[in-house]
Each structure stands twice: as C-alpha cells, then as structure tokens.
C-alpha cells in the first residue's frame, strides 16, 4: 500500500544527491547518532527520576519539564538527520522487517511519552501510588532502548 510513497521518496533529488555523494550519507549517520545520544540522555534522566533514582532532590515534574526542551531540540535533530537516511534507501526499508518494527516501537514510544509518561511526571507526587511512576519509567526506558537497538540492528539484519 505504501510502496508508491516509498518509491517517490527514493526518487527525490535529495535522495539521489545522497546516493551520489561519498560523504553526505555517512556524515548524516554520524550526526544522527549524536542527536540520538542527546535525546536518549534527556529521556533516561527523566526515567531515572521516575524510577526514584537520579536527581531525587528535585520533583519528578521539574526534572521531566527541564529535560523537555532538550528532548524537543534533540528530537528535531534526530528527525532532520533521519529523514534523508530513510529517503535515500526507502525501497530497501520497505522490505525491512526491522525498520517496520522500529517505526512501530517509535510510534508507541512517542505516544507513551506524550501521554502517560507526561501525565504521571507532572501529577502531584502524593496523588499516585509509588509503583506507578516506577512502572512508567521502566516502560519508557524499554520502549526508547527498543527504538535505539532495533535501529542499530537494521544495519545487520535489515
């Protein structure tokens, strides 16, 4: 169903420029990893706080809110560096079960972070049972590490 869209992505002038250049694709990959590192750092510091570790002298809400700005900027950089990597080899990704898995886990992680994780993080600390933020922190960690690991494995088993 999505095949024409993937074919269109691969036919873009930008995709061709990436395929023709020796340096463009690897440098974009490297910057993508850097952006992912900052993004994961901002997620993990919030998740550690939800788990009851990390900077516990601060409220869950203040740690997660402070990480949010970093998350947004790093997320933007992940997107900007990720899109050309996808369009350059879109038809290969169309056949990759790991890429499809990564996209599903990414969608779940984004949805979970924007809804459940955010609501639990900003809720009054006394209002929730102590296991709730812990479970939310653990689920968030598993989802985001799932995105990172499946993305990396595409190189080998794509």
């Amino acid at each position: 169903m999505l095949l024409p869209f993937f074919a269109w992505c691969e036919s873009l002038a930008m995709s061709q420029a990436y395929r023709d250049s020796t340096y463009l694709f690897p440098v974009t990959q490297a910057l993508h990893l850097l952006a992912v590192t900052v993004f994961v750092g901002a997620i993990v510091i919030g998740d550690l706080r939800l788990l009851g570790w990390g900077p516990v002298g601060q409220s869950r809400a203040s740690v997660v809110r402070s990480a949010q700005r970093v998350l947004l900027w790093a997320g933007l950089a992940v997107l900007v560096t990720g899109i050309p990597q996808f369009t350059t080899n879109a038809l290969t990704y169309h056949r990759s079960w790991l890429f499809i898995l990564k996209m599903w886990v990414l969608a779940a992680a984004l949805l979970f972070t924007a809804t459940v994780r955010h609501r639990v993080a900003v809720a009054d600390e006394g209002r929730l049972a102590s296991w709730v933020p812990r479970v939310v922190g653990a689920v968030s960690l598993v989802l985001w590490m799932g995105v990172t690991i499946s993305g990396r494995l595409i190189n080998y088993y794509g």
Binding site: T22, Y23, P26, V27, Q29, A30, L31, H32, L33, L34, V36, T37, V38, F39, V40, G41, A42, I43, V44, I45, L48, W53, G54, P55, V56, G57, Q58, S62, V63, S66, A67, R69, V70, M145, T148, I149, R152, L153, N155, Y156, Y157
Partner: protein, 166 residues
Amino acid sequence: MLSIVPTFAWLEGLAWTTALRESPYGYPLIETSHVAFIVIFAGLVMMMDLRLVGLAFRHVPLAQIQQRLFRWQMGAFVPSMGTGILLFLVDPLRYYQNVFFIAKLLFLVLAGLNALVFHLKTYRKGETWDEDPHVIVTAWRAGAASLLLWSVTIVASRLIPNNWFK
C-alpha cells in the same frame, strides 16, 4: 622496528575471535550493545554538561546532578568499554590503522582527562559549588569542553566503517 601487526594477526586468528567474527549474531549483538551503552553513558554525561554550561536543569544544584548521575554514567561506561575492547579484539587488523578509530580513542582519552581534572579540582568543594563564582566558571569550561569532546568522539565512532584515509 618491532611491529604490533603479528600480535593483531595472532589475536584475529584465535578460535574464539574467529567464531565471534564469523557468527551471524556474535559481532552484530556485541556492536549493538556497545552502541546502546555508549548512547546511555554519553547521553547522561551530556545532560550533566548541559547543566554545567547552564543550558538545562538549572534548578538542580551542580553538586547534586554530579553525584546523582555518576553511578549511572559508570554503570553504562563499564559495559560500553567491555564491549568496545571485545569488538577490537575480534577484528584488530580492521581497526588499528583506521583514522576514525584512532580519533575516537584520542578524544575519548581527552574527554576522560577533562572529567578527571574537573573532578579532582572541583569535586572536593561539594555543597558550596553553586555559591562559588570560581567554581561556576570552571564548571562552565569543563562542561563546554566535555560537550565538544563527547560529540566528536560519537561522530568519529560512527564514521569508523568509512575508512576514507587508507
């Protein structure tokens, strides 16, 4: 002149390094674990650096963020080093002359030295960090240097498969 190449060739020829290199799962799983641990480790270091330069977590006292994140940084650093050494041992002849691999090691050492100097010079002042203007300036410099050094280390490590300078 004594060459290290025979030692690397010997390492590469060992039964267990050959098995890991040729296994469809061995090398990919070690490399993926290496990347996952580095991302957690360097990500947490960079969160501390962003605090040191005053770009994020400004409400968290400097001393607290350093103390509370240190064990988690080390918890990810040790397995990332372990898997990194394993990756090198499995395929040493591929890496030892690779410019990006050498750059990665160099910047890794510089980042480590930067952290060590900051730790030794500033750490003892503990709770007074946030009131001492000298510490704030030192912390800003250390944080900015660390951000730069870790960024270059990560970029270099991702460029290792592209040995453009043979």
